[in-house]
């Protein structure tokens, strides 16, 4: 029985709860047990049902009826330790709850636990967590992707029915791709960032990691909306409609050559699955054509100036003065700052603080930050132009399937390339979803692993995007259950 419960989509579980076929508490407890027992290091903290009465609204109107949800540890949860995967926040219990989490609670969802992540969301493999790496449920010698690796591994590994994560340059889509699940990065401004620990404020966005597109729509619907605590939030006009489309008739799909055929480093297996999916789109009645995003290939370079620049300021508050651990320094202020931060931050975070500080320095600002901003504008223009000819643009989500633990840790640039196909959409602020499209052999050989297919749409066009993804998902018929996960 319990194994079957773990296979339900949330939409199906909700239907059963509503019909009286499944008790909400049983549903929660089953997942609480699975989350407690998981061996992927996907969770940093697991809640029990008794821990979770406070913000729960299980009234008849509560759309989410007590279902559990895993939350990336980047979201502040009042009184519950929140670390953003960093040692510098060890023991930090926020005095407030993030808007996205509060909205879920208001809708009746219950916090299942806080998931592991790359420190401050900086990473593409989850190996940058201050609390140990997360393992990929498809192959425990491989990474789950990052930075929302804990959320992705928990959902794919049947330790959570669904989860929220954050995406700055690919941090939802890439781990979703590597773990064989659905991941959506909404339009910048769709979901409030209040209470989401900032990495790069102009790019960070909260989004769902789920086992199918319908659950992603449900979760987006529960979290999106204007929030007066976040001046940059606007919500999605007209809300989110649940997907129902079965064909792609009348839809035009553009394939940016810069992010697919022409891009270096895309694995043969990934290309093959990508090509097969394009054929499937045509079979469903969609039109597929090549398109150009002339500046997209510069996205990664611009991103690695802008995101670290913002991060260098966002991470300045971790100074040991008001919260978190404080290093002893014999009363010397500067030494206290230096030691606290030297001990609290990991190597990748330090690298990005250095990069960002440099890029903003007097005399370098124009050459780095100023130029990167202009590239960002060009990329946004590229997408706008492309959406005059196409309804959606499609690319592989990640150039490769899940790579081995340790494989890229010594080479930051190789690691950064993991986000080559996802970063341009982040810079343009537009929504993009990753769907599991099939399995492919990794370049070094071995058992087949999930391949993600990315669909990007125009700003605030989430409902249409989810609808198209839903039609394609049905046609693909991907089994999200990793081998070896008991059933």
């Amino acid at each position: 029985m319990s194994a079957e419960i773990l296979e339900l989509t949330v939409a199906e579980a909700l239907r059963r709860i509503e019909a009286g076929e499944l008790a909400a508490d049983e549903y929660f407890d089953t997942y609480a047990g699975a989350a407690h027992d998981e061996e992927l290091n996907a969770y940093l903290r697991v809640q029990r049902r008794s821990d979770e009465p406070r913000t729960t609204n299980e009234g008849a109107d509560a759309a989410l009826r007590g279902v559990p949800i895993a939350v990336k540890d980047i979201f502040c949860t009042e009184g519950i330790e929140t670390t953003a995967g960093s040692r510098i926040l060890e023991g930090y219990r926020p005095p407030y709850t993030a808007t996205a989490v509060r909205r879920l609670a208001d809708a009746g969802a219950r916090l299942l636990g806080k998931t592991n992540m790359d420190e401050f969301a900086m990473g593409s493999s989850n190996e940058n967590s201050g609390y140990g790496p997360v393992l990929n449920p498809w192959d425990r010698e491989r990474v789950p992707g990052g930075s929302s690796g804990g959320s992705a591994a928990a959902v794919a590994g049947r330790a959570a029915p669904w989860a929220i994560g954050t995406d700055t340059g690919g941090s939802i889509r890439q781990p979703a791709s590597l773990c064989g699940i659905v991941g959506l990065k909404p339009t910048y401004g769709a979901v409030s960032r209040y209470g989401m620990i900032a990495f790069a404020s102009s790019l960070d966005q909260c989004g769902p990691l789920t086992r199918d597109v319908r659950d992603a729509a449900l979760l987006l619907r529960a979290t999106e909306g204007r929030d007066r605590c976040d001046s940059t939030s606007v919500g999605i006009e007209g809300g989110v409609t649940l997907p129902s489309r079965e064909s792609l008739e009348g839809l035009r799909f553009g394939v940016p050559q810069e992010l697919s055929a022409e891009a270096e480093g895309i694995e043969a297996g990934v290309s093959e699955v990508f090509g097969r999916t394009l054929t499937l789109i045509e079979e469903l009645g969609g039109k597929v054509d090549e398109c150009e995003l002339p500046h997209a290939a510069h996205g990664l370079s611009a991103y690695y100036v802008l995101a670290p620049a913002e991060a260098s300021a966002n991470l300045a508050r971790y100074d040991g003065v008001r919260f978190g651990p404080r290093a002893d320094a014999d009363g010397d202020l500067i030494a206290m700052y230096e030691r606290t931060r030297a001990e609290g931050f990991g190597a990748e975070v330090k690298r990005r603080i250095m990069l960002g500080t440099y890029a903003l320095s007097s005399g370098y600002y124009e050459a780095y930050y100023g130029r990167a901003q202009r590239v960002r504008t060009k990329i946004a223009d590229d997408f706008r132009n492309a959406f005059e000819r196409f309804d959606y643009l499609v690319t592989p989500t990640s150039p490769t399937v899940a790579f081995r633990l340790g494989e890229r840790t010594a080479d930051p640039l190789a690691m950064y390339l993991s986000d080559f196909c996802t970063v341009p959409m982040s810079l343009a602020g537009i929504p993009a979803i990753s769907l599991p499209a099939g399995l492919a052999e990794p370049s070094g050989g071995g058992p087949k692993l999930p391949v993600g297919f990315q669909i990007a749409g125009p700003a605030f066009g989430e409902s249409g995007l989810l609808d198209a993804a839903h039609a394609l998902e049905r046609a693909i018929g991907f089994d999200t259950r990793p081998p070896g996960v008991s059933s």
Binding site: F323, L360, S361
Partner: protein
Amino acid sequence: MPEGYEGVIGLEIHVQLSTRTKMFCGCELSFGDEPNTHTCPICLGHPGTLPVTNEQAVRYALQIALALGCEPAARSIFHRKNYFYPDLPKGYQISQYDIPLASEGRLGDVRIHRVHLEEDAAKLIHLGESGRIHGSAASLVDFNRGGTPLVEIVTEPDLRSPTEAREWAQLMRTTVKQLGVSDVNMEEGSLRCDANVSVRRAGAEQLGTKTELKNMNSFRFLERGITAELERQASLLESGEQVEQETFHFDPRTGALTPLRSKEYAHDYRYFPEPDLVPLAPTEEMLRTARQALPELPAERRERYQAELGLPEVTARQLAFDAELGAYFERALNASRQGTVAEGPAPEPRTIANWVTGELVGRLREAGDGEVDPVSSKVSPEALAALAGMVESNQVTTGAARQVLATLVAEGGGPAEIVEREGLAQMSDAGELEAMVDRAIEAEPVAAEKVKAGNPKAIGPIVGAVMRETKGRADGGQVTRLIQQKLGLD
């Protein structure tokens, strides 16, 4: 300063706005409350928090900008100013940089470079003797002040002397005070004034190297600090040395200027646009409302006082450019116009003005320790207007009125009662005065003879005798004329 040198001074003024809540969060503003009682996750810089701009602060700042004749930008943006200090919870201050709220204004003879909005830092309290962070036994942070809305006003270097700088700063204070958007109290820190000071050869075009003076928490200290720094720079130049660009901390206890350690100010602030906030674009409604809310500003008020009230320029300026004095005068003027203060016709505004700027200020200055605040004195504007009216309508002599004022300063109350009580009403009974004059002529026969013989100055002792007898209630001119009549001189 030695001959042949000229000071060049620009001011950087910070005004704490008296909004209900802080610049970017909902905490109430406070002054003097128990430390760390007006804080929240946002103004403490907790992870994940975001700023939201206080609309009232924008409205107040627009009023200041318009009062200074600045052009508000259609769209200005906030920047992050990055540096580490314990009074700065986020590790950056949200401020404005290349596109400020407003720019290019003028107040009096000084051009305004820019006006921008930012948040205040928290307050550090250093334990130990130094009173500074270095060498203190411990430092405590009070975050109540952190996040208070601040308007920064930067002038062009148009001031030439310490006195000019002080007077202009006072005019600036009056202007903001009249807007009602700040307490503008220098001692409490709701008005702070830093100075950029340089010295050059008189007549030179190029500016000398400037230094920055901080922490001058009164107008007198501002003047003293600038004076000391001009002297220092001029004597350096005089002896062939160079002025180093540095920042000085003014010590109000000693008047000394100590250079700040370079670590305390030599920053690369790494400004970049604040991604958590949308651009500040005042709506038409906001601009219209701000314009409509503008009260009469000092320059306009001075003009009105001269043109409509016929006040001399010096008096008009004094009343218009000093917030407290001007407010006091306005109240006295209103009271006299409404006829609530005394019987008879309302006194001329000029008479009231003279009594405010001359008699009252002088008397308060004698009584107090130099600081003159008529509003908090015991003399109500209504009482002063009444007194001026009594003088003008010859109910009391000027001399008697001065006595009344002395009593008012000491005890307060109404002038009519004091006149009554102390018997100071001007003598109006001609017969009684004539009798006194006769007696005085009799008592001073030598003087009377001298006057008759053509020495008008000899009349003094006779007048004096009459005035003594009337205790100042008689008008000196009238008494003199009467004596001359009696001695057959007219």
